[in-house]
């Protein structure tokens, strides 16, 4: 396709992207350079980079950054591996139950996040089912402590997000040519060898894309943590989004909250660079 024609066809989506992404980003950059509260929102005061300096010297920001990284490092690989394994298992089921099982697995992902988190949290609260079992087994109450709350957040994120990679990988597996697997089987390849040399390379682009989306999602996670912690600093489970919300909505430092948002965007980009590089290389190779 000629370049000129390409730009014509892609113009509507490009315009939409610019309107919905670049303009808000520009406003965020503008606000991040100003002292703005809800009171002086119409007359922001320029303060240069002092919002950024304040954030980068705030120990609470770094604590939130660390917890964001912990979520990223623990949750994303588990979501990918678990989603992949479950997709493989689901692919083996050929009966009518496949649809039923898929629907059941999708439930956590379909439920509104806040509602899902509340239901999950209630299992561990006073009178909750898991809390009841815990007491029955260990003869002591289940307690919300910094460790238990952080672990519960990560477990919840895995439980709630894993259906997404599962569906993507399952859809990818439906496109895998049977002939390749049959040929490998004839050549004596084991199931493991088929998986490593045929299935995973075939799903590689999907693995990359899903990883990128999950990294972005986990980095920006808000609702689950908000519901699980109710902003109680005792649990030390604030991530960057929660930090940004607190600074913006509670302390009412809108400029500083926007500076946090800009730093978060930059942070996501840094984390995504290796993935983007691999995707770019793959694309070049294919061309």
């Amino acid at each position: 396709m000629k370049r000129k024609l390409f730009f014509k066809f892609s113009a509507p989506s490009n315009l939409t992207m610019i309107t919905l992404m670049l303009i808000p980003l520009g406003v965020a950059v503008f606000l991040s350079l100003h002292f703005v509260t809800f009171v002086n929102i119409n007359t922001p005061k320029f303060v240069g980079l002092s919002n950024y300096a304040a954030i980068l010297t705030d120990p609470q920001f770094w604590q939130a950054f660390r917890f964001s990284m912990v979520i990223l490092i623990i949750a994303v690989p588990i979501q990918i591996v678990l989603g992949f394994c479950m997709a493989l298992l689901l692919d083996q089921i050929r009966s009518i139950f496949r649809g039923v099982i898929l629907a059941l697995i999708l439930l956590p992902f379909v439920v509104v996040p806040v509602v899902g988190t509340l239901m999950f949290k209630q299992l561990f609260e006073v009178g909750g089912l898991v809390a009841y079992w815990y007491r029955a087994v260990f003869n002591q109450p289940f307690l919300f402590t910094p460790t238990s709350v952080r672990v519960l957040i990560i477990i919840h994120l895995i439980w709630y997000v894993t259906p997404y990679p599962l569906v993507v990988f399952f859809a990818g597996l439906q496109g895998l040519p049977e002939s390749q697997l049959e040929a490998a089987e004839v050549d004596g390849a084991s199931r493991w060898q088929q998986l490593v040399h045929i299935v995973i390379p075939f799903l590689r682009p999907l693995l990359l894309m899903t990883s990128m989306i999950l990294i972005m999602d986990m980095y920006r996670m808000f609702d689950s943590i908000m519901v699980m912690t109710e902003q109680n600093p005792m649990y030390q489970a604030e991530n960057l989004m929660m930090y940004s919300y607190r600074v913006g909505m509670m302390v009412q430092r809108l400029g500083r909250a926007n500076a946090t948002a800009i730093l978060t965007v930059l942070g996501v980009m840094v984390v995504l660079i290796p993935f983007l590089r691999i995707t770019y290389k793959n694309q070049m190779r294919n061309e």
Binding site: G127, P141, L143, P233, M234, M250, V251, Q252
Partner: protein, 338 residues
């Protein structure tokens, strides 16, 4: 358009000028709608610099709900101070196997810590701010209040009680898992309702405990208001009249079954809950609301940010409060209040 606002929002939205003053309408319709039936303290809670910014609709306060049968069984008299609460809780913890948690105040979330601190601070004669908006909450009264909260949390509640939300407290009392609690008066409404409570006759009510014998109770008193946004285009007088219709004596009399309405005549109803005398005594003994200052929201935010961290055991009460004071001071200066 009308909206219901609680006392903290009167500061947050009133001082920036986002709420419409209605002095003229209140004056004009004072007799027609019998607005004198609403206590002056409720009007004061929505008046900033002489401008009335809303109409008080409903109130709420704190009180103590306790299992009279368990108190009697263990020879415990109804606690009047927090030291007595701790002693009673210890006795129940040691001798009563039917309960999981002896006592709770609400400490499950950051905002809950701040609210309980506000109440305890009042019970030790402290205050949030000095007249010049410098922090007062980190003085000796604040330290005593926070130390008492920690003592209550550790000795009367235990780690399980620390995670009790307001809902957990209500259900805990109704199901017998919890022996007594200092909680919202509105949560007392269903204590004697057999549809919700297994201990209809056993659950009784008393004023919130005090910080020291004869002192103020560790409670607060709140009103919610109908307010009109300042930027409204509609007919403000008509909106005011609609608000007044919703606030008539008939509606308020029916509401006593569910809470504390603001019209005093509604209290003459037979439906007034058994908890009401205890709630009213608490209000009479010093329960109040947040100070109406533009800096109050910043104090609350700073306290929410730091108070719960005392349970991590790395800072003393004084250090926690000093950190909150430093955080508040920085924001108050940035906002031009200091």
């Amino acid at each position: 358009m009308k909206s219901l606002r609680t006392t903290p929002q009167v500061s947050e939205w009133g001082f920036p000028g986002w709420l419409m003053p209605i002095n003229d309408l209140v004056e004009k319709y004072w007799d027609e709608y019998d607005l004198g039936d609403i206590p002056q303290t409720a009007w004061d809670a929505v008046t900033i610099n002489g401008e009335i910014l809303g109409v008080p609709v409903v109130g709420n306060s704190f009180l103590m709900i306790y299992r009279a049968d368990l108190f009697e069984k263990h020879g415990i008299k109804v606690p009047e101070t927090y030291e007595e609460v701790i002693a009673a809780a210890k006795k129940l913890k040691a001798g009563e196997s039917s309960i999981d948690v002896p006592f709770t105040i609400n400490l499950h979330a950051a905002w809950a810590w701040e609210m309980e601190f506000f109440q305890m601070l009042g019970a030790f004669d402290g205050k949030f701010l000095n007249d010049d908006y410098t922090p007062a909450f980190n003085g000796p009264e604040g330290v005593k209040a926070l130390e008492m909260m920690v003592k209550v949390a550790k000795e009367a509640m235990g780690p399980e009680g620390l995670s009790y939300s307001i809902d957990d407290t209500e259900i805990g009392l109704q199901t017998g898992r919890l022996a007594f609690a200092n909680t919202w008066a509105s949560r007392a409404v269903k204590m004697n309702d057999p549809e919700y409570s297994d201990f209809v006759d056993e659950l009784k009510f008393a004023p919130a405990p005090a910080g020291y014998p004869g002192g103020k109770v560790a409670a607060s008193a709140w009103n919610d208001f109908y307010c009109i946004p300042k930027n409204i285009d509609g007919d403000r007088e008509l909106i005011f009249q609609v608000m007044m219709e919703a606030l008539d004596l008939e509606s308020q009399t029916k509401a006593v079954e569910y809470g504390i309405p603001t019209r005093m005549k509604s209290m003459e109803s037979d439906m007034v809950g058994a908890y009401m005398p205890a709630a009213m005594e608490g209000i009479a003994r010093g329960a109040g609301a947040y100070p109406l200052t533009p800096a109050t929201p910043l104090v609350r935010t700073a306290l929410q940010e730091y108070l719960p961290t005392i349970m991590n055991g790395t800072m003393s009460a004084q250090e926690v409060l000093d950190k909150a004071a430093a955080s508040y001071t920085a924001e108050a200066k940035a906002n031009g209040y200091l």
